[in-house]
Amino acid sequence: MGRIEWAMWANEQALASGLILITGGIVAVAGQFKGWPFAAYAIGAGVLVCLLEYPRGKRKRGSTMERCGQKYMTAVVKVFGPLTRNYYVRAILHAVLAVPAGFLLSTILGTVCLGIASGIYLLAAIRGEEWSPIEQKPPERPQLGGGTIKQPPAMPPPRPPAEARKKPPLEEAGHTNPVAVTAEAE
């Protein structure tokens, strides 16, 4: 297992936990179970976790498949800088978020799963992984000549300075020989 990036799996696990928290919370709130305020909290925590975990980080090796439409959340998550980049912070955040949901049966499954995700993130952080956003590639310039021109010149060709380009006046249009020519009259 030398080259695995644990953060990728932690990300999937955390996303699943968020969904489970939301589901358990909805059930308890809808059924008005005892202690349903915990469930309301679980819904909020679940939404937060899902939003945070939806944009997948970039893998160090190989290409990363983006989730559908993740670029909007990537922009938001990027704003928090080291808070979201560092996996220690994420591990602690998930552990803290998970605890209150553990007081109600409906959401305890979410607690356990989020706790596991927190553990995997801790492992990822210990191994020095970091979250980096998947950037959009700049749009390619439309190619002239149907793609047959591979390296169009970026600069104009060199020209002599402006004075030398000026046409000489008509009287001096004649050619000046470097060597004197003597017409041999015969």
Binding site: M1, E12, Q13, G31
Partner: protein
């Protein structure tokens, strides 16, 4: 366009299908599709048998599941036995989970169903526990509270409400009862299995997927004992004789054993026996049997006759195993204990059945394959032990039945054709009566030949042998490099007059770009105006579509003239 369902695999291949997805090795994965060919029978043939069969099985299975769900739902909803259970609970759901592991698609379908029904089951029982608790704590003399108090302090097992005390929570009850505890454990195991089986994780970090999936042992063990405590209860049959809930429920205060005027004795309840094990027992036994069989097969001695390092990090292993017999196009699973104890990886067999050894070509494209490469490269005096399981896959005998055959191998799909071509050559040389083929057109499409240098060598040696035996016209092969650039083409144009090709060194010239199938098909049709031509493809679906179209287009309606049959088999 027909979906690419693999054909029916015998049950011995059941679980091994788990291996073949997401592995960076030669067993076909191209553009995410399995290496597959499309069935297209001409109009007078019946519809593809495999496809119909599998759709039928799936529909039957889904229908059975739906039926069971509805049946048990109605049973719990309507039967008198569960009248009071319903009162206390509101309603009850029971779901069945079946495990039939036939192939990868089916396995995934089952997994999704399990996840869905688990969610439904859990939500239902969450409600149940909450309502049981409410009923137990209610002191308002309602029917629920009276029922909950029945038989609570006796030693007998006739109670209805499993929650006994007045100041407990559903969570506490969950973790102190067998069904609750096993339920939580197996659900966590299921969630871990599902998250590590996401396609992204599977393709990038196969080991995580593989080892996490072994949690299924915990899952099934827990599932079997999940119901043994009998917490879901109904009125016993004897009690129903003395106490008809439809009549007696209206006046619960009149229930009394000693009161002679009442017609209602106190109801008594018994538990429903655990049933999950009945559903999963047969598949579990099948699975255990298969694992034992595979283990026994893998213990058979495999002798590595030769190990050859080809360029581009391709390792060829020629092996011998007692009692091993193969057909063209099959694959085997290989395990190397010194590289990794538990991992088995599939590889297409590249040798012909006529040879006295069997071989695979392993390209280093991931952790396991690279370690295997290194192990063999170190050339220790004792070759590492190899375990082999197989061969699996359907044999493709059809290749030999056509008078003329067009074989198209794209990219990694060229691997099974090594076996096919070698076998055809052997049969041709020995004038094997089973071989009806007189002419083969082989099209090899790839971006660059780098990884398949060994296949080039195979073609070269076939070319030589054909020349020596004077049958140079038997095999006509063309190589199409789809990843060419200007310098390569210029180089080729410059060396146009050479005898051998500048790229491959073969006598056949390399073409650049994709083949123009229209001209190819019309050329073959012209050369074989009265034959039946079989077209076999191992490559991406897009190519399958265009070949199918060409087959249609160039097949003549006249049965005496040329006909192209496009064959779908999984190599």
């Amino acid at each position: 366009m027909l979906p690419s369902f693999p054909p029916w695999l015998p049950w011995t291949h059941l679980r091994t299908c788990l291996h073949s997805q997401g592995l960076p090795i030669q067993k076909a994965t191209r553009n995410g599709n399995s290496c597959s060919l499309a069935i297209l029978h001409p109009p007078q043939h019946p519809a593809p048998r495999h496809f119909n069969w599998i759709v039928g099985a799936l529909t039957t299975w889904l229908g059975l599941n739906v039926f069971l769900f509805v049946y048990y739902f109605l049973l719990f909803d309507k039967d008198k036995k569960f009248y009071y259970t319903r009162v206390v609970l509101g309603c009850c759901r029971r779901t069945m989970r079946k495990q039939l592991d036939h192939n990868l698609t089916f396995h995934k379908l089952v997994a999704y169903s399990i996840a869905l029904f688990t969610a439904v089951h859990i939500i239902a029982h969450l409600c149940n526990f909450e309502w049981y608790n409410d009923s137990q704590q209610a002191a308002d003399g309602s029917l629920s509270s009276i029922l909950s108090d029945l038989h609570q302090d006796e030693e007998s097992n006739k109670w209805l409400n499993p929650i006994r005390s007045n100041n407990t929570t559903p969570a506490y009850v969950t973790f102190t009862t067998i069904p609750g505890l096993t339920g939580v454990i197996i659900t966590v195991a299921l969630i871990l299995m599902v998250t590590s089986s996401m396609e992204f994780i599977r393709r990038s970090y196969f080991e995580v997927f593989w080892y996490m999936h072994h949690l299924f042992v915990i899952y099934f063990a827990g599932l079997v004992i999940h119901g043994i405590a009998g917490l879901v209860r109904g009125q016993t049959a004897e009690s129903l004789k003395e106490h008809n809930p439809e009549l007696c429920a209206q006046d619960p205060k009149q229930w009394d054993r000693k009161n002679k005027h009442s017609q209602c004795e106190e109801p008594e309840f018994g538990s429903i026996p655990a049933e999950s094990w009945q559903w999963v027992l047969a598949p579990i036994l099948l699975y255990v049997f298969e694992r034992v069989l595979r283990f026994w097969r893998s213990q058979q001695r495999v002798v590595v006759v030769k190990a050859v390092m080809h360029p581009s990090k391709v390792l060829e292993l020629q092996m011998h195993k007692k009692g091993f017999s193969m057909e063209v196009g099959q694959y085997i699973f290989i395990n190397c204990p010194s590289v990794s104890c538990l991992e088995w990886h599939p590889f297409t067999l590249t040798s012909a059945p006529e040879e006295d050894f069997f071989s695979v070509h392993i390209r280093a494209a991931g952790d396991w394959t690279e370690k295997l490469n290194d192990t063999f490269q170190q050339q220790k005096p004792k070759t590492p032990r190899i375990e082999v399981d197989g061969p699996f896959g359907t044999a493709s005998e059809d290749v030999f039945q056509y008078e003329a055959a067009m074989l198209v191998g794209a990219g990694i799909g060229v691997t099974p054709f090594a076996s096919v071509l070698k076998s055809i050559w052997y049969k041709f040389q020995h004038a094997d009566q089973r071989l009806k083929t007189k002419k083969i057109y082989f099209y090899w499409l790839c971006r660059d030949t780098g990884a398949f240098a060994w296949f080039k060598d195979l073609l070269a040696s076939l070319e030589q042998e054909m020349e020596e035996s004077g049958k140079a016209g038997f095999l006509n092969y063309r190589l199409f490099l789809t990843g060419w650039d200007n310098s390569l083409a210029g180089h080729a144009a410059f060396n146009l007059d050479n005898d051998t090709d500048v790229v491959t060194g073969l006598r056949q010239k390399t073409s650049f770009g994709r083949p123009m199938w229209n001209s190819e098909f019309s050329a073959v049709a012209t050369a074989h105006p009265r034959s039946v031509v079989g077209v076999f493809l191992c490559g991406p679906e897009a190519l399958a579509t265009s070949l199918q179209k060409c087959c249609h287009q160039y097949s003549s309606l006249d049965p005496r003239k040329v006909k192209f049959y496009f064959n779908k088999e999984n190599f």
